[in-house]
């Protein structure tokens, strides 16, 4: 039986540009020199993810693995272990709704449902215009103002469904809270 043809992963088509390679080289070297010759993986991946719109394309991961001197399989294992890193394209802003205990009992399900309604996407999905990705999250450590969520690095607490349109509009307009 014929083996499946080589699957041409989408990212492969977009070979890395010269700027991409230079950028990755600079990031890896910076994080290597500063830290006693050892490489701080997470700093590299967060910075790279930030540049490529909240996700790590295959071709970029391949180059990072080469620069860092690890195998692509090991880096793939690393990236797929941590929920905040993503190998699938995500929106410009990542909404993480805390679905943990304290938030759950004070209204997180209602906040999530309302966001799904407002954005028209389910949990784990990205809005068609690429603005938001909606995700559930483990405890964000702001239980005193539960139910809470974070959009990128900004936290919003004491939420009720009716606060959400305002927050989304503010973030869409580029203003953090």
């Amino acid at each position: 039986m014929e083996p499946d043809k080589k699957v041409q992963s989408p990212e492969k088509a977009t070979a890395l540009s010269v700027e991409d390679r230079a950028f990755l080289q600079e990031v890896v070297e910076r994080d290597r020199v500063e830290h006693h010759g050892r490489v701080s993986y997470m700093d590299i991946l967060f910075e790279v993810e930030h540049r490529y719109g909240n996700f790590l394309p295959g071709e970029v991961l391949r180059e990072v693995a080469r620069l860092v001197g690890t195998s692509v399989a090991q880096l793939n294992g690393f990236v797929t272990f941590y929920t905040m890193l993503s190998t699938k394209p995500r929106g410009r802003h990542v909404i993480r709704v805390c679905t943990s205990g304290p938030c759950h009992v004070t209204g997180a399900p209602a906040v999530m449902a309302e966001l799904e309604r407002l954005l028209g996407v389910g949990e784990g999905e990205t809005t068609p215009d690429g603005a938001f990705t909606l995700e559930g999250s483990s405890c964000l450590g702001i239980c005193g103002v539960s139910p809470a969520l974070m959009i990128d690095d900004d936290a919003y607490g004491n939420l009720t469904p009716k606060d959400l349109p305002g927050i989304l509009a503010a973030v869409r307009a580029g203003g953090a809270q």
Binding site: V7, S71, A73
Partner: protein
């Protein structure tokens, strides 16, 4: 340093046990207790993942793992308490809960570690339901290996052998918790990543999660086709292992029975890869002499192991010019059969089907390499063949296991078959051809020929002891009638990498290096029968060297059929024609 011993109690009896040994080692070596294990693989995979080897230790609330826990002075170990039995059984049941129940059709129905363990521990019913809702897709992208993640119990043996022994790191665990899987980069499949097809992962897999890409149906088909001339070649390391599949003692030389069995399967001609091993020695020996004499690039590195070739192309493209341009014996055989033999017998090459039986899974990838259609190009003008009619030099590759499966399927009572010989002319071989199957064998075979060609004197002693042995790396200085030849031998790509890094830096002290992808050489290949005997490689190596010692001719250049092919067809070694038919090229894969 005198070994300090500790006093421990195992199941109520006292023992003195070397400091530093684990409970598992102590119980097995001193108390005749074989504590069951599943994910443990000594020296390679010691992660304590499966939780089967747990024991009771006085004073601990939990059940420590015997494979990981080192003994301490006065430790009291109980290997069979009620909570130990319960824990082992439940941990196996938890694995069985999500395991497919298709034992009847599974490749590993006769030798599955999970199945043996379940029956050993008396698991009679699995009371846990499936928790994995969807079935994962089969990875079918590799020419050599097939991965079924649904049968994977995440013991991590394959990941560890690929990393620690082969240093290829083609696979690792991806995802987390109950949706963890063994995966390639972005799950692109073994066929699309750095995997060199060596199959060492398959050898250590306790279940049917990893199997070879089977070509049995294709071979049955051609065997049944009357107008095809189906030729089989058998690799040196197959004859000393195939007996294990039929209950014969480890290390049996089953050469004659193998030839008889294959003939009764219906192969028109039963030839021997040892013949083309001798041919390889001629080509490679003279290549070495050429490089030494005319200051060519040294060290010369052997090229018969396809896993090593893909490894070099992927990780060390810079050293490709050091690698011998000779094809492997399997590929030389295919070319010779469809050119020299076809002409000699007046057969239409398109009707000849070459099937090879190999101890190796990477050979299935090698035969599909684009460069391996030399016979077709040889005949293209002569027979004005169209490009679409192109055919490979070698059509199908069966692992030792697959050949045994076909012999069983045909109902042949292998163990009691009377011995038969290989057919002429491509069945004739020397002792040097046979020892290709062991690490150091190619080196010794080449030295036997090179010595006599270089010095024009007969070899004082045939056996080069210091290149033999199963150690991962060996080096030696061979005296070629006064001129020293520094050689090195590595088996297992982790060891090879050390030698190759020296070559890459231009600091390699050697002139000739033999590299075998698999630990022990081809006798330890990914296509060999699965065995739990820790000394299996030693038994197979002894058998190979016994076969060599018993051969009337023991130097490749004295093989009459070899002398004849040069006389009638090739001219001299490394001739223009020989170069065109028996040599190949490599290409840089690091970017893929």
């Amino acid at each position: 340093m005198e070994m300090r011993t500790l006093h421990v109690k195992i199941n109520g009896r006292d023992y003195q046990v070397p400091d530093g040994s684990t409970i598992l080692e102590a119980a097995s070596a001193y108390a005749n207790i074989e504590i069951p294990t599943l994910c443990y693989l000594e020296g390679i995979s010691e992660e304590g993942a499966c939780g089967v080897c747990v024991v009771d230790v006085k004073g601990t609330r939990n059940l420590p793992r015997a494979c990981l826990t080192k003994v301490s002075e006065g430790m009291e170990i109980w290997t069979n308490t009620a909570r130990v039995r319960e824990a082992r059984k439940i941990n196996v049941e938890l694995l069985l809960a999500n395991h497919p129940t298709d034992c009847f059709t599974c490749e590993r129905t006769e030798n599955c570690d999970l199945r043996d363990l379940a029956s050993e521990l008396g698991v009679r019913e699995v009371e846990f339901p499936r928790t994995r809702t969807e079935w994962l897709p089969i990875d079918n992208t590799s020419l050599s290996l097939v991965r079924d993640p649904n049968k994977c119990i995440l013991c991590r043996r394959c990941v560890n052998v690929c990393a620690k022994v082969q240093s290829v790191y083609a696979i690792d665990i991806a995802g987390r918790g109950s949706n963890s899987t063994v995966s390639t980069f972005l799950n692109e499949g073994l066929g699309n990543v750095e995997c060199v097809n060596c199959g060492q992962c398959l050898l250590v897999c306790p279940t049917g999660a990893l199997t070879e890409r089977s070509e049995i149906p294709d071979v049955w088909k051609v065997l049944g086709d009357p107008d095809k001339i189906v030729v089989v070649e058998t690799a040196p390391a197959v004859r000393v292992a195939i007996g294990e599949e039929f209950g014969m003692p480890d290390g049996t030389q089953a050469t004659g029975k193998m030839a008889a069995a294959l003939r009764s399967l219906g192969f028109n001609k039963v030839f021997d890869t040892d013949f083309s091993a001798d041919l390889t020695i001629m080509e490679e020996g003279f290549e070495l002499i050429g490089r030494i004499k005319n200051g060519g690039t040294l060290p010369l590195i052997t090229s018969c192991s396809p896993g090593w070739i893909k490894f070099a192309e992927t990780f060390f493209p810079g050293v490709l010019d050091y690698v011998s341009s000779c094809k492997s014996p399997q590929q030389m055989f295919g070319t010779v059969t469809k050119t020299y033999w076809a002409e000699k017998m007046g057969f239409d090459p398109r009707k000849i089907v070459v099937v090879s039986v190999m101890p190796c899974t990477a050979k299935k990838f090698e035969k599909e390499r684009p460069e391996m259609k030399t016979a077709f190009h040889y005949w293209q003008e002569k027979m004005s063949l169209k490009d679409e009619e192109a055919f490979n030099d070698v059509d199908f590759v069966l692992t030792t296991r697959e050949a045994a499966r076909m012999i069983r399927e045909a109902g042949i009572d292998f163990a009691n078959l009377p011995d038969e010989d290989f057919d002429k002319p491509l069945g004739e071989s020397s002792g040097a051809g046979v020892i290709f199957g062991a690490t150091g064998g190619v080196m010794e075979a080449a030295l036997r020929t090179a010595y006599e060609v270089l010095t024009r004197k007969s070899l004082p002693r045939l056996d080069f002891e210091d290149v033999r042995g199963l150690e991962g790396m060996k080096s030696a200085t061979i005296d070629i009638d006064g001129t020293p030849l520094r050689v090195a031998i590595a088996n297992g790509l982790g060891n090879a990498r050390i030698l190759i890094e020296e070559v890459q830096k231009g600091e390699s002290p050697y002139q000739f290096i033999e590299i075998m992808t698999c630990p022990g050489g081809c006798l330890g290949g990914g296509g060999q029968p699965l065995s739990n005997n820790p000394d299996i490689k030693k038994r197979r190596a002894e058998a190979i060297y016994r076969e060599d010692a018993g051969k009337p001719i023991r130097k490749s250049h004295e093989n009459p059929e070899i002398q004849e092919i040069y006389k009638d067809f090739l001219g001299e070694p490394n001739s223009e024609k020989a170069h065109h038919l028996l040599h190949t090229t490599y290409h840089d894969r690091s970017g893929e």
